[in-house]
């Protein structure tokens, strides 16, 4: 069955329908990981995005029950070159094609994904449509232009947990953390649990009182989709927490929230960082870690020196070696730090797992 992908600037690609048939809209972004498609698909940060996989063979290991990062697939559309005809892995419980169909995810295969990627790199991430229902380019183009923009989108409410839940520490309980779910991935509380942390995952709209009512020793700000510029409520909440000297650790969207809480601005990157091979340098140790990224926005802070904020001095702690984008912040006078990337990996290398240790140590200092 034929399918079309049409971008908001009018470029189109003809291919075959993949996964569910129908029509879907979203922001077209490319992801460069060669493994971990199941984690990518289930990462809430990809909500309302059409993900283009640059790796040509997708679905080789099928799907399994252990690897999803949330209860459902979040991408709004999926673009691959050569979908697997057969799943091969000892843990596989089904094929990706079936899974996409079951969850109603519309995709397209067989297109020149590299040409599309290069286009997005040059022109920036943009709105797109995939359709196997309407094969008229002009008509699809009109529809794309009417679809909502990512800039200015407030999506946390759409992905956050409706009610709080708890992930217990593994082994001896050491600390309790309240995690703000802006689109949290399952591996994050898992990584904390491994370090003796019990995590209360809370809705993104939770108030400071609700957060502190969990008895948390600290707050974790999760990753998530959308434009951080719209998250004024979350920023206000975090500022209040900082005023009350609650230790705070943020990642991805959480880094942007913390950055705004400190008074920095955020901006949209041309085409974002989405891959599991991004080199980040820890400015404290000089060491380079290979990290998992999924962000279209970044914090605007000076790379060198310290900035005086309402909460004392704040410095950039991590930087992406590819393009000098701010990848982490650390407060010098408060117990708060954050990174723009994914120390929980899944998918991706485990080089940044030490950040959870740093978080646990920070909590230990308090005790």
């Amino acid at each position: 069955m034929s399918a079309l992908l049409v971008l908001e600037d009018g470029r189109s690609f003809a291919g075959e329908a993949y996964g569910a048939t129908g029509e879907t809209f979203g922001e077209a972004v490319f992801a460069t990981g060669m493994t971990g498609y199941q984690e990518t698909l289930t990462d809430p940060s990809y909500h309302r995005q059409i993900v283009v996989q640059t790796a040509p063979h997708i679905g080789n290991t099928g799907v399994n029950r252990q690897d999803p990062e949330s209860a459902r697939i979040w991408v709004s559309g999926y673009v691959v070159r050569d979908p697997a005809r057969r799943a091969s892995n000892w843990r596989a419980s089904g094929t990706l094609d079936d899974e996409l169909r079951t969850q109603g995810v519309v995709g397209i295969s067989g297109i020149d994904t590299r040409a599309l990627t290069r286009h997005l790199r040059e022109r920036g991430a943009m709105r797109a449509v995939i359709s196997s229902a309407d094969l008229d380019v002009a008509s699809l183009h009109r529809k794309v232009l009417e679809s909502p923009l990512m800039a200015g989108a407030d999506l946390s409410a759409e992905v956050t947990t409706p009610k709080p839940y708890v992930i217990d520490a593994i082994g001896e309980h050491r600390f309790t953390v309240a995690a703000m779910d802006y689109g949290i991935k399952a591996m994050t509380p898992q990584r904390m649990a491994e370090r003796g942390i019990t995590t209360h995952v809370l809705s993104s709209a939770s108030t400071v009182e609700e957060i502190l009512a969990t008895g948390a020793d600290a707050v974790f700000l999760s990753n998530g989709p959308g434009d951080p510029g719209t998250a004024d409520d979350a920023v206000a909440t975090v500022q209040e927490l900082l005023r009350r000297e609650v230790p705070t650790f943020g990642i991805c969207f959480g880094n942007q929230i913390l950055g705004r809480a400190f008074g920095f601005g955020t901006y949209k990157l041309g085409y974002g960082h989405r891959g599991i091979n991004q080199p980040v340098q820890d400015l404290l140790t000089g060491k380079v870690e290979i990290t998992a990224h999924n962000h279209g926005f970044a914090v605007d802070a000076p790379l060198e020196g310290e900035t005086q904020t309402d909460f004392g001095a704040v410095a950039v702690s991590h930087v992406c070696l590819n393009d000098n984008v701010v990848e982490g912040l650390v407060a010098k006078d408060a117990k708060a730090f954050s990174v723009q990337y994914h120390p929980e990996a899944a998918a991706g290398p485990h080089d940044a797992a030490y950040l959870f240790d740093r978080f646990a140590n920070l909590l230990g200092e308090k005790a």
Partner: protein, 1106 residues
């Protein structure tokens, strides 16, 4: 922290001759290292015995020593150069072992030399199996489980825990006696093997280890800097499961069948192993096995150095491991080194691929008829091709058609007449070309699961073959070949040739006709596009033009303004077509770049310098087939002005394409295909010889024994017989009598009037001469005259030779010069020509002429200091020899036939792979030389006189000639007179001489004391046992007659193979025996020294200027 300033002079150790398992990938890595270190301002000295390498070109180091890679010679080089540091991790296992030996011998300490890039403890932790096992366990990862057992019950209990698939290794037995592999999972098999193993062990002890045969096999290429930053450059998955050496496996990058969790676990373990072993800076390679049923992962081994896989990984990803390793070794960290391809991003990252890379090994079993073709953990392949496609099927198809074998992809050779079950049985044993049987088995109805179960190949890969089988059925059944069908086929890597063979209307008389498919393809506007290898899946803009073709939408080849020259490379290494041709291609690139042309390289061999994206202005990693080359030419013509294509430097592969490319309208540069045809066609070449009044050995053709006998009778025995339809000495034999002739004819099955047998007079005792020359249409430049040390009849590639010639006089050289000029003129050469002559009874016979770059070009260039291939490339684009002399590319005065009397002697010696091959019964294959080439590589010895140069060449092959000890002599009757003097000299030098009865009699009668020993057939105490026991230090054994039944040549078989097995010099011609004795004399005097090429070149230049 930037580069170290406390060292200024670095010695790089190369890897020596090309052998199986250690090929030109180390020329690639060493060349990169030399370039980088010099660019960083270090003085670089280099030692390597292999003259065919780019790295030993004098411009790549400050001091280049072509000397044997032994501790003794290394020490001399160190003493002469006094380097601050040695970089041993880019020269393969050879260099690493030498570094350890230099350390253990106290030489590093004595001269105050530091090892960089590796430290001794780390090397030992990586290489010592027991230490490595402990390390793996310490970091919490697994090695195969094992237990030492003294009873059958213990063995059975353990075996049951691991599914009864085990390896039994008895303690204290020799040569694997009593060891075995239980693969059926059956306890009875374990019982039998364990009982046998316990019985075989003198201490009644066996090691029982869990077998990982058939598990999935992976490799990671890692790099670490001194700040402990680690990156994984590439993951590689073996299509062939555990049990086949990774060098013999079809491999794929990136890994195709791992989830992220499994991959990250592998990455974590790999990094932990690297850190624990303590490789401080540089690259390493770690192999893993994964149980496909449970995902359990085991660490197999690591190499704490740059390896064959890292060359592959570098080409596959665009991340130049050797180059980065060299920078890390001198103090840089990964974040300080820019990524060459993006320029903007650092080397501290992990490449991500948006394409699939497939490597297929190239074997040469046809050269070793007795050898067991079953693939095991001992590497047997002689080369490899790599391909890049946007999916697995495309890359696989390209790789299979890059092989330069009879089959060039599925369906291009006749199906075997086998049933589904027979095919399934056949695919269960790993062999060269197993994938062809997999395809046939599936076509015969075997399912993906059945094939996966029989082969251990992951079902995902098997399903990809199933995809091709389905596509084939669709193509065959379609009423017409539509645009859609064509496009679908091309997207899955099916070549024009394959397509034509599936469609009668597109083939010619049942034979493939790629031109017909091509025409149809162009009619539909279906052409490949070219994408860039950019390390980052298009996330950043790439500035290095490194391309591969694919059937996709958008091409990335940019327009350029300069005139372009396309150079065709030489394809996978195989016997007869090795690194020497890549050398000439690289030189053409260097010369033409310098002359202002834009150079474009096409090649598919990942081991080479030519496929380094730094070499040519543009690199196309593509198969060297008519279809693929034409598409590159088209892409280049679309993006600028193509002056032409050079086909004459890359050996047989590009030469075979020349005529068709010309017919298709592609402008060819240099010697034209018509000229090549003149030299190759026997009739036409015969007429040239007659016209020029040049003698050739008497010859005739025959299609039956009677005819052959008549020819042989008229020209006289011995005769050289060969089929007329093969090149490179295949099927060639020297026949000494009528009975043997009859035997040959009866074995040569395919004799027809169209394919007669050629019968040539064999010039026994002639001196064979090899000549390389340049011709521009006006003037001849004689590059060199080389004299073979073995007599005529041994393939020139296997023969040792000396330059300048050691026994030829001025008049002989004049005759060579005149004859070569006459041939070059009449053939129409514009560039290089190689001529082989035989001098017998003062007559110079022409054996053959090849109007192209020869195997000896690099050797000649090193020995005479003149870059012949560079000059040839310039002649191809119109320069004259006079201009090149004026420019200084060629010497202003003199040529290679005209060297000073005191010029040093260079000796080239061949390196043979016999010890790698065994018969299915486990015996060695015969190590006899003949008209068919068998060597994989070569070394060069250079010194003031012949004896010393020959001694160095032998030292470079065998470690050293013995200076004392025992020599065994067994000589054919015709050689017995010639051996007396050398044997006497050995006696005088204190050697104990042992001989067979006949030889012993002759020696004693001539006053040479010797002891007589029994032949192999004469029972216990025979010579073979003595060799095996290490009692013999060198063997002189000249055979008589040729391989055949009950032939005298066979008598020496056991002797020669025993010598090969224990690795002692085995000299098989009387000429080489004399040379060896001279060499031993020189070595005994102890005055042998080392001299850099730069020094030699300066003195030659001085002489020429006088």
């Amino acid at each position: 922290m930037p580069k170290r300033t406390d060292i200024s002079h670095i010695l790089v150790i190369g890897s020596g001759p090309i052998v199986i398992g250690q090929a030109c990938e180390f020329d690639y890595s060493g060349t990169q290292a030399c370039r980088v270190l010099r660019a960083e301002g270090f003085r670089v000295s280099l030692v390597n015995s292999n003259p065919a390498t780019i790295m030993t070109d004098p411009e790549f180091a400050d001091a280049t020593y072509i000397e044997p890679l032994t501790v003794e010679f290394l020490e001399r080089v160190i003493a002469a150069e006094r380097p601050d540091a040695i970089l041993p991790t880019l020269g393969g296992q050879t260099a690493l072992n030498l570094a350890v030996a230099l350390h253990e011998g106290g030489i590093l300490a004595k001269y105050g030399v530091e090892l960089i890039g590796a430290d001794i403890d780390a090397i030992q932790r990586g290489e010592d199996r027991q230490k490595f096992k402990e390390i793996v366990e310490r970091i919490g990862a697994e090695v195969p489980r094992s237990v030492v057992c003294h009873t059958l019950e213990d063995a059975l209990t353990f075996a049951a825990q691991v599914g009864n698939k085990i390896v039994v290794r008895p303690s204290f037995t020799m040569g694997g006696l009593g060891s075995g592999l239980a693969r059926s999972g059956d306890a009875d098999e374990v019982r039998t093997l364990a009982a046998r193993g316990l019985a075989a062990s003198p201490v009644h002890e066996i090691l029982v280890e869990e077998s990982v045969l058939g598990w999935k096999e992976f490799e990671l290429e890692l790099m670490r800097d001194k700040n402990d930053n680690v990156v994984v450059v590439c993951s590689i998955e073996n299509v062939d499961p555990m049990g086949v050496h990774t060098g013999d496996s079809i491999t794929v990058a990136p890994a195709m069948t791992l989830t992220d969790r499994e991959y990250q676990h592998m990455r974590d373990v790999g990094i932990a192993v690297l850190r624990e072993v303590g490789v401080d800076t540089g690259g390493c390679n770690i192999q893993f096995a994964i149980d496909p049923k449970t995902g359990r992962m085991i660490v197999i081994e690591m190499n704490p150095r740059v390896s064959r896989s890292s060359a592959l990984a570098s080409k596959a990803t665009g991340f130049p491991i050797a180059k980065i390793a060299a920078k890390l070794a001198v103090g840089y960290t990964l974040d300080e080194i820019p990524n060459d391809i993006t320029k903007k991003t650092p080397a501290a990252f992990e490449p991500t691929l948006d394409y699939v890379v497939v490597k297929v090994p190239r074997f040469a079993f046809e050269k070793f008829p007795g050898a067991d073709p079953v693939l095991t953990t001992h590497m047997k392949s002689v080369g490899e091709a790599m391909s890049i496609g946007r999916n697995f099927t495309e890359a696989l198809g390209k790789a299979l058609r890059s092989m330069e074998t009879k089959a060039s992809g599925f369906w291009t050779r006749p199906d075997d007449d086998l049933t589904r079950d027979e095919l399934l049985a056949r695919v269960s044993i790993p062999t060269d070309g197993r994938l062809y049987y997999v395809e046939q088995a599936m076509r015969a109805g075997a399912s993906v699961d059945e094939v996966a179960a029989a082969t251990g190949i992951d079902p995902w890969f098997v399903d990809q073959i199933a995809l091709l089988v389905e596509l084939r059925a669709e193509i065959v059944a379609a009423p017409a070949v539509t645009s859609g069908l064509l496009r679908g086929a091309k997207r899955h890597g099916i070549s024009d040739l394959q397509l034509s063979l599936l469609r009668p209307e597109l083939s010619k008389d049942g034979l493939g006709d790629d031109a017909a498919v091509r025409a149809l393809r162009l009619e539909h506007g279906i052409r490949p596009v070219f994408k860039t290898v950019d390390t980052c899946s298009a996330e950043f803009e790439a500035s290095t033009p490194y391309y591969y073709s694919t059937y996709d939408e958008e091409t990335e080849v940019g327009h350029t303004g300069r005139q372009k020259v396309i150079i065709l490379g030489s394809g996978p290494n195989r016997i007869g077509q090795g690194i020497e041709f890549d050398y000439s291609c690289v030189h053409a690139v260097l010369a033409l770049r310098e002359a202002g042309y834009e150079t474009v390289m096409i090649n598919c061999n990942p081991e080479t310098v030519s496929t380094d994206y730094d070499t040519a202005d543009r690199l196309y990693f593509e198969p060297l087939t008519f279809e693929d080359v034409l598409e590159v030419v088209h892409a280049e013509q679309q993006s600028g002005e193509v002056l032409g294509v050079i086909c004459t430097l890359g050996g047989q592969t590009p030469l075979g394409l020349a005529q068709r490319l010309k017919d298709a309208g592609v402008p060819l540069l240099g010697t034209q295909p018509e000229a090549i045809e003149l030299a190759e066609h026997r009739g036409a070449f015969g007429r040239i010889l007659t016209d020029a009044n040049l003698p050739a050995p008497k010859h005739g053709t025959a299609t039956s024994f009677e005819e052959a006998k008549a020819v042989a009778d008229s020209i006289g025995y011995p005769v050289l017989v060969r089929p007329s339809y093969v090149l490179g000495g295949r099927g060639m034999e020297i026949v000494y009598d009528e009975a043997h002739l009859s035997d040959y004819i009866s074995r040569a099955t395919e004799i027809t009037p169209a394919h007669p047998v050629l019968v040539d007079r064999f010039l026994d005792d002639a001196v064979e001469i090899d000549v390389d020359a340049l011709y521009d249409g006006h003037e001849l430049y004689l590059g060199a005259v080389m004299e073979h040390i073995e007599e005529a009849g041994i393939h020139s590639g296997d023969s040792a030779c000396a330059l300048p010639p050691i026994t030829l006089g001025g008049a002989d050289i004049d005759a060579v010069r005149t004859s070569t000029l006459a041939l070059a003129e009449r053939i129409g050469v514009r560039g290089l020509i190689n001529v082989q002559y035989a001098m017998a009874s003062d007559i110079l016979y022409v054996l053959e002429a090849n109007p192209r770059a020869s195997r000896t070009v690099p050797f000649v260039s090193k020995a005479t200091t003149v870059p012949l291939a560079k000059a040839a490339a310039r002649i191809a684009v119109g320069a004259t020899i006079a201009e090149l002399r004026a420019e200084g590319v060629l010497p202003r005065t003199h040529d290679g036939g005209d060297l000073p009397d005191d010029a040093p002697i260079s000796v080239k010696e061949a390196v043979l792979p016999f010890h790698r091959f065994r018969t299915p019964a486990g015996d060695q294959v015969d190590s006899l030389l003949g008209p068919e080439m068998k060597s994989t590589g070569e070394v060069m010895g250079i010194d003031a006189n012949f004896g010393m140069a020959f001694a160095k060449s032998q030292a470079a092959v065998y470690g050293s000639l013995p200076l004392k000890g025992t020599v065994f002599i067994s000589i054919a009757n015709r050689d017995k007179r010639a051996i007396i003097f050398p044997a006497m000299r050995l006696h005088d030098l204190g050697f104990r001489i042992i001989a067979t009865a006949g030889t012993g009699q002759v020696l004693r009668r001539n006053g040479v004391p010797c002891e007589v020993v029994g032949k192999f057939s004469e029972g216990p105490g025979n010579i073979v046992e003595m060799i095996q026991a290490g009692e013999i230090d060198i063997v002189f054994n000249t055979p008589r007659g040729a391989a055949g039944n009950s032939n005298p040549r066979i008598d020496g078989y056991e002797i020669r193979t025993a010598a090969v097995t224990v690795g002692i010099p085995c000299i098989t011609t009387v000429q080489a025996a004399s040379a060896a004795v001279q060499g031993i004399e020189e070595l005994s005097r102890g005055e042998i020294g080392v001299r850099s090429l730069q020094d030699l070149h300066a003195s030659l230049a001085g002489w020429r200027a006088e």
